[in-house]
Symmetry: C2
Subunit: 431 residues, 2 copies
């Protein structure tokens, strides 16, 4: 029986889950893989914190450097969260020739290029299935199962918290604050939910998916990111009237000049599209390969058990890789399509909601600004007047480059008849 | 650059696709994997058949034995179809120490136990992603990505032809014969569609999925299989009235005594379940693991390009395995839960449509038979009378063992008031 010695950094929700399942799955791994995992050390920030269940005290250390220093440890599992310490831990683990398993999407999105090239140089494998969409095995699918495909597009719901909030707003007519409060009460949102609802958590995952599809790392300042904080109950209703649902959608596209663009933006998607039926904390990834056509994966994107399942699958890979090292999947060339489309050049359809004065001539002024920018309107909703004298005005816009649209919205905002910040969302018809 | 020499048996739709994509993907594989595939021989039954495009004539042989005899060939790709010749080819390839890639679901469902134990003995890897659900990488997901999970249930739509026919019957009110004809015209159904519409193609795939989930091979006589030939337009309408859609559903379950049951039966599923929105030739597999919870995979289950994509992914695996052999994923023990539930013991809910005489007392007679077997009725639909004096009677039945239900239906069929063969379908509420 092959023994694999593991050092675990981080004992939060996922770290504790990994510990629990390594114990619980002892027989399963012996039987399915002929492997026995030996968890030698757990590095934590606070040695004195009370924990819901307690591994033997002697396993713990307050210094992650101890995982590197222990020559017996073959695999370092990084589940600390944060950036600077994980960055140093992962680099040092690779330098020391230890296999790395990580679920840290922010780390990979920021330092992926450097980390993977160091790993390539040192011939150390890195596994990171837990970094994107927890229980959905999308990393392995893209790297291995679809290895013969060139990817045409990826559309994904990658943040369970945002999706839960939008689902509740859609199902119950809640506003954002109510739905967020409920998500926090149910443990689906952190006390500080900003990274989840501002789109950046999903953006980190989209950067990782793009790196798998196109073989290079998009910088985060090259991704257009918007969160769901400004969606209100009326947007949900207008979208519904128009035949759409609003989802925080990550979209990655390659255009005919092989330029890759990525955005994470609240997006109106047709109600009959399968992504519209992905509700609650679930995630889903739809991708188009030139051979497989459309393939879609759906599952839980977070949570202790689904994420631990991904980490344990990575540990199985790590065990097999230790037993007989082989060439890894993944692109040897990282510059094949190394060409990023500026968000401003990305052509899309849009939903624009304004708060305007309730008087004639307003629509004509707004439409005039759009016309000057050669932007075509496909439909307009102007609900009945309100005692306040301020009414919403919803405009659906045909294909336009985002930069052009952004500029037009800035101009519209300067009109005297426009009374508060416009809400600009993407519309995706998947054609 | 590693060179991998391949012998291909079969040059039908998928075989020709594999040939085409091996040529087309030369640079991609060199770049992504550092591998060059060298297709040395193609074995075909008919050397003189005209083909839509023609590999060099010298590649062809009429004798698959030539693939075995060629010492240069490292990987045999079996895409012949049929049973006896593929069986001999695969056995001989393993005996000769050649890696096997096959898409032959019938072969594995019938001889899997023997083939895999021979392969284990000879330490030869077998890859078969193309055997189940073409473009959906479910084999790798179950073996590798979910290696830490115990599977609680699997529900799947595994035959695109049946699903296309049922979709058209649902969307357009077509009857079975019309929808089948359309499927044949569009190339979605063979001239002889029996294996697709009688449920057996899906059953072979279900047997393979069950072997991955539970580590042993269910015999085909232990699977309850029914096709869609007897579904008529009125069944589609009654199901719709009751809130369901009819799908040819493969269901694999493990009960509290660790008995595994499998069935492939036309099944009423709730319209709001995600499997109900899997339409046309698409396939989908929903599985529940004890760690990941529900995970669902959706994509094209057949067709030249999606299936070739799966074969090429297997060739990539084969290349890596040749380069550095390692322990394979998969269960070492094949008897862990080697316990099959008899179809008669499987408890389900049912939809029963009868053609009965249009007179009072009929429902009471039918209900009487069910009551004698302790079978509870949950609802009844009795449409208005018809000039013929024969009317349909639809009965929805609560949980009952299939054997008990089957026996009751046999009794009901003997009643004088029952005029033609009953249509008995399963109902799955996914609770």
């Amino acid at each position: 029986m092959q023994k694999v010695s593991i050092g675990l950094a981080g004992f939060g929700t996922v770290g504790a889950g990994v510990y629990k399942h390594i114990l619980r799955s002892r027989d399963l791994f012996a039987e399915r893989l002929g492997v026995r995992f030996d968890l030698r050390k757990i590095a934590v920030r606070d040695m004195h914190r009370t924990r819901s269940f307690d591994p033997p005290k002697e396993l713990f250390t307050a210094h992650w450097e101890d995982l590197i220093a222990d020559p017996e440890i073959q695999v370092v599992v990084e589940l600390m969260g944060g950036m600077d310490e994980p960055y140093r831990l992962v680099r040092q683990a690779i330098e020391a020739g230890k296999t790395v398993v990580t679920g840290n999407k922010a780390l990979l999105a920021r330092h992926g290029k450097e980390i993977f090239s160091l790993a390539h140089e040192k011939q150390v494998p890195i596994f990171y299935e837990a970094a994107v969409a927890g229980g959905i095995p999308i990393i392995k699918a893209m790297r291995e199962s679809f290895v013969a495909n060139r990817f045409e597009r990826i559309d994904a719901i990658l943040n369970g918290t945002s999706n839960y909030i939008l689902t509740r707003m859609t199902e119950c007519g809640m506003d954002f604050a109510q739905a967020l409060k409920e998500a926090q009460e149910k443990g689906y949102a952190e006390a500080d939910p900003s990274l989840d609802v501002n789109g950046w958590d999903a953006a980190h995952k989209a950067i990782i998916l793009a790196s798998l599809a196109y073989g290079f790392w998009i910088r985060s300042d090259q991704v257009r990111v918007a969160g769901i904080e400004n969606i209100n109950a009326s947007d949900i209703r207008f979208a519904d009237t128009l035949g759409y649902q609003i989802k925080l959608l990550a979209s990655i596209r390659v255009d005919s000049h092989a330029s890759v663009g990525a955005r994470v933006v609240p997006t109106l998607i047709p109600k009959n599209h399968v992504l519209a039926s992905v509700n609650g904390v679930f995630n889903a990834i739809s991708l188009h390969g030139d051979m497989v056509g459309e393939a879609l994966f759906y599952g839980q994107g977070a949570g202790q058990d689904p994420t631990s399942s991904a980490v344990l699958a990575d540990l199985a890979e790590a065990a097999l890789a230790l037993q007989s090292p082989r060439r890894c999947y993944g692109f040897t060339s990282h510059d094949l399509y190394g060409n990023v489309q500026s968000p401003d050049d990305s052509v899309g359809e849009y939903y624009l909601r304004l708060a305007v004065e309730d008087r004639t001539g307003v629509l004509s002024q707004v439409a005039g600004v759009l016309a000057k920018s050669q932007i075509g309107i496909s439909s307009v909703i102007q609900p009945e007047g309100h005692a306040s004298g301020i009414v919403p005005l919803v405009i659906m816009v045909h294909h336009a480059p985002f930069g052009c649209m952004r500029h037009a919205v800035e101009e519209i905002q300067k009109l005297a008849c426009v009374k508060s910040s416009p809400c600009l969302l993407n519309v995706e018809s998947f054609t």
